[in-house]
């Protein structure tokens, strides 16, 4: 009960923030009916998906302050579970997705236990390595389609059980639902005991230990929460693209992108991951489609993209949200 109250209670945010949140929600609700083209729609879908990823990463990476660069492996686990169960035994999405999440959580505990012996850069690189190892295994593992990847059978009629629709509108509302679930969860999480303890660990791990906090265990818990979030997104990717292969769902780039969303938007803040995604995804997609096909401009879109990343991380390490707050303080 109290939990729910916390989850829906945004009262500790400033008035403006709450107003913007409401307006934004209304916008999302009516978005599909504003007559945007399908390209904009897909961009929106990816924006929501990556804010979901980002929020997940934020638990361990933001509040916990652990630089975690291996999330792609959990996207992979989520996506592959959904795809394989559907191909092998025709198991519907609504069953396979939770299974995927459970597997992801289990795996995250197995990996997390040794992983959190490490700190700082050793930890960061190690997370990358674990993800790469899993990717290589999947690339060569015949049973899961190896490098071929897996195609989900297309059903002739739209099918809610298997989350197959013709129009992106349905996918949009589905991912939007997930997005809000994540949002409310995070709103609870940041006020939860674990949330406080993680922030303490981030501030001063030694002191945290002296306050009866089992730092390693807290990190592992946060890590598996993050993994669960990401696995959900992975499952969505599988049914959305109807094709997955280790290169697209388990790649290092994906891991980094996920962390980048949260970090660039503002790690350890409620809105950070969302802002980050709202900034990076459209930038990437639109630049790509405008400049990508232009002859003689190959690579320019990436250069702009990269320049933005450098600029933000150099100017304000706390990301875009940091910049916003900075100006607010000045204003106040």
């Amino acid at each position: 009960m109290e939990t729910l109250k916390d989850a829906f209670d945004f009262s500790d945010f400033s008035r403006i923030e709450r107003i913007i949140l409401v307006l934004f929600s209304i916008f999302l609700l009516v978005f599909p009916w504003l007559g945007f083209g399908s390209f904009v729609k897909t961009v929106m879908i990816y924006f929501l998906l990556f804010s979901l990823f980002g929020m997940g990463w934020n638990t361990i990476g933001g509040y916990g302050g652990q630089v975690e660069l291996g999330k792609a492996q959990y996207v992979g686990i989520g996506a592959y579970t959904v795809a394989l169960l559907m191909v092998w035994w025709r198991i519907p999405f609504w069953v396979s997705m939770p299974i995927g999440v459970l597997i992801a959580i289990g795996y995250s505990f197995i990996i997390g236990y040794p992983l959190f012996r490490l700190k700082g850069h050793y930890f960061a690189i190690a997370t990358i390595c674990t993800s790469l190892v899993l990717q290589d295994i999947f690339i060569n593992w015949k049973l899961v389609g190896a490098a071929k990847g897996i195609e989900l059978p297309i059903r002739d009629h739209p099918d809610f059980l298997y989350m197959q629709f013709k129009s992106d509108t349905y996918y949009f509302y589905f991912i939007m639902a997930l997005f809000y679930a994540a949002l409310f969860y995070m709103n609870w999480f940041r006020k939860s005991r674990l949330g406080y303890q993680l922030r303490m660990i981030k501030d001063d791990e030694e002191a945290a230990e002296s306050l009866g906090i089992d730092a390693r265990w807290c990190k592992i818990k946060a890590y598996s929460i993050a993994s669960a979030f990401v696995a959900v997104g992975g499952g969505f990717l599988a049914v959305y693209n109807l094709y997955i292969d280790p290169y697209s769902v388990m790649d290092l780039d994906l891991s980094i992108k996920i962390a980048l969303m949260a970090m660039l938007g503002g790690a350890a803040s409620m809105w950070g991951p969302i802002i980050g995604a709202a900034f990076l995804i459209p930038l990437d997609r639109f630049l790509g489609s405008w400049l990508g096909a232009q002859k003689g401009l190959i690579g320019v879109d990436f250069m702009i993209y990269a320049a933005m990343i450098m600029a933000v991380s150099a100017y304000q390490p706390r990301g875009i949200w940091g910049i916003i707050e900075q100006f607010r303080k000045r204003g106040a």
Partner: protein, 415 residues
């Protein structure tokens, strides 16, 4: 992107083309785009006196009142999910009547899945994964032969050698060819090639002494090369993209390997950069492909179209680029037969179409799709790089009736 008004829809027919125009495969993507544009402009939309195809006399699609084909290019960056998005954009926003592309099989999978969902025909010009036409899709057709054809061709060539069918080579006793090794990169393409090789080797009574998959563009292939050499094969077979193919040759050269036969399954071995970079080292290397400039000798049209391309961009057509030429040609024919841009009509046209071989740049018997959407009249080539006065010429070795030069056998090795 031009917004689609009714008027535009009548006068120009939009075909969406998805290629990897940026990212790691940008070079090949650029060439494919050039070839497609060239075909649309100079073979379909405008009359072209110095090419002897019926199509070149059209100047637009006849049955649609001379409507022009407009190709709308989109850049997949070689990412499957991006490909899917672009396919949606092309279908819903740009209102294209059909799709073409997308080079990498992985991207083609997602793109064709979208096309299938929206009931828009997609003609695939250049993806060779056999699976693509085994998915029971109703809106997917493929003009190029797939890897199985090519891998079979190799063993036909080997058989030919043992039967003295090959131009300029005396009959070779089978025990000099019996032992094969292969090294394929462990992408979807490489691994399926490996599977075919195993199968056909049994069928044709050859014996694979060592076969290995290796991780694509690894920083070093020494151990792989050693494994291959250590098996002392008569023939070495490879499926590698450009980076690996070059590295592999370099490494093997370093080890003074000298098999009797050295065959590469397209991709790296067939790209223009390959001979450009390795020069004399390519002498005697065989590669499977679908187009070789030398075809001009035996097929006039091929020469003429190749000239057009060479005049404009300096390079000869390669297997890849020639395939995208055929892709556009096929689209023109399909549209002409359907005499409408309605998907159902196009679907029907695709299923019924039968393009005569003499219309195509390729040495094929023509284009006719079977129930799965695979073109059954296509055929592959095997070429051999031959080092003549300071430049590597790609000569046709197989099919035997098209042979453009004597085959260099056995593989001369490296100095």
């Amino acid at each position: 992107m031009v917004s689609s008004t009714i008027f535009a829809a009548e006068k120009e027919i939009k075909i969406g083309v998805i290629y990897p125009l940026s990212g790691a495969l940008a070079t090949i993507g650029r060439d494919l785009q050039r070839a497609a544009e060239l075909t649309a402009d100079e073979l379909v939309n405008n009359k072209n006196p110095n090419v002897d195809t019926l199509m070149a006399k059209w100047g637009g699609i006849p049955s649609l009142g001379g409507a022009k084909i407009k190709l709308i290019f989109a850049d997949s960056r070689g990412e499957p999910d991006r490909g899917a998005d672009l396919a949606k954009r092309l279908i819903l926003d740009d209102k294209v009547v059909g799709l073409m592309g997308a080079y990498q099989s992985a991207v083609t999978k997602t793109v064709s899945a979208v096309a299938e969902r929206y009931g828009i025909p997609m003609i695939n010009d250049s993806s060779t994964s056999p699976d693509l036409t085994r998915r029971g899709f109703k809106w997917f057709w493929r003009t190029t032969p797939h890897d199985e054809y090519f891998d079979k061709d190799l063993f036909e060539l080997l058989k030919g050698l043992t039967e003295g069918k090959v131009k300029g080579v005396k009959t070779v006793p089978k025990d000099q060819l019996k032992n094969l090794t292969y090294a394929c990169e462990n992408t979807e393409w490489g691994s399926s090639v490996a599977k075919d090789l195993e199968r056909f080797a049994k069928e044709y009574g050859f014996n694979i002494v060592k076969g290995l998959l290796y991780s694509a563009n690894a920083p070093d292939l020494t151990s792989e090369a050693q494994a291959v050499v250590a098996a002392k094969p008569d023939s070495m077979l490879f499926a590698s993209y450009l980076s690996d193919s070059i590295l592999m040759i370099r490494t093997l050269k370093g080890m003074k390997a000298s098999p009797h036969l050295f065959w590469g399954q397209d991709a790296g071995f067939e790209m223009a950069d390959f001979p450009r970079m390795l020069g004399a080292d390519t002498n005697g290397v065989l590669t499977r492909t679908v187009f070789i400039a030398k075809l001009a000798k035996v097929k006039k049209v091929a020469g003429q179209i190749n000239e057009l391309y060479k005049k404009k961009y300096g390079d000869d057509l390669t297997g890849a680029t020639a395939r995208s030429v055929v892709g556009v040609q096929t689209w023109a024919y399909v549209l002409n037969r359907a005499a409408s841009t309605d998907p159902k009509a196009l679907q029907k046209a695709c299923n019924e179409i039968d393009i005569p071989g003499y219309e195509l740049v390729m040495p094929w018997d023509g284009i006719k799709f079977d129930a799965t959407g695979q073109n059954i009249k296509g055929r592959g080539l095997i070429g051999q790089y031959q080092w003549k006065e300071g430049k590597a010429e790609l000569e046709i070795i197989y099919p035997f009736d098209l042979a453009s030069a004597n085959m260099i056998y056995p593989f001369p090795g490296w100095k």
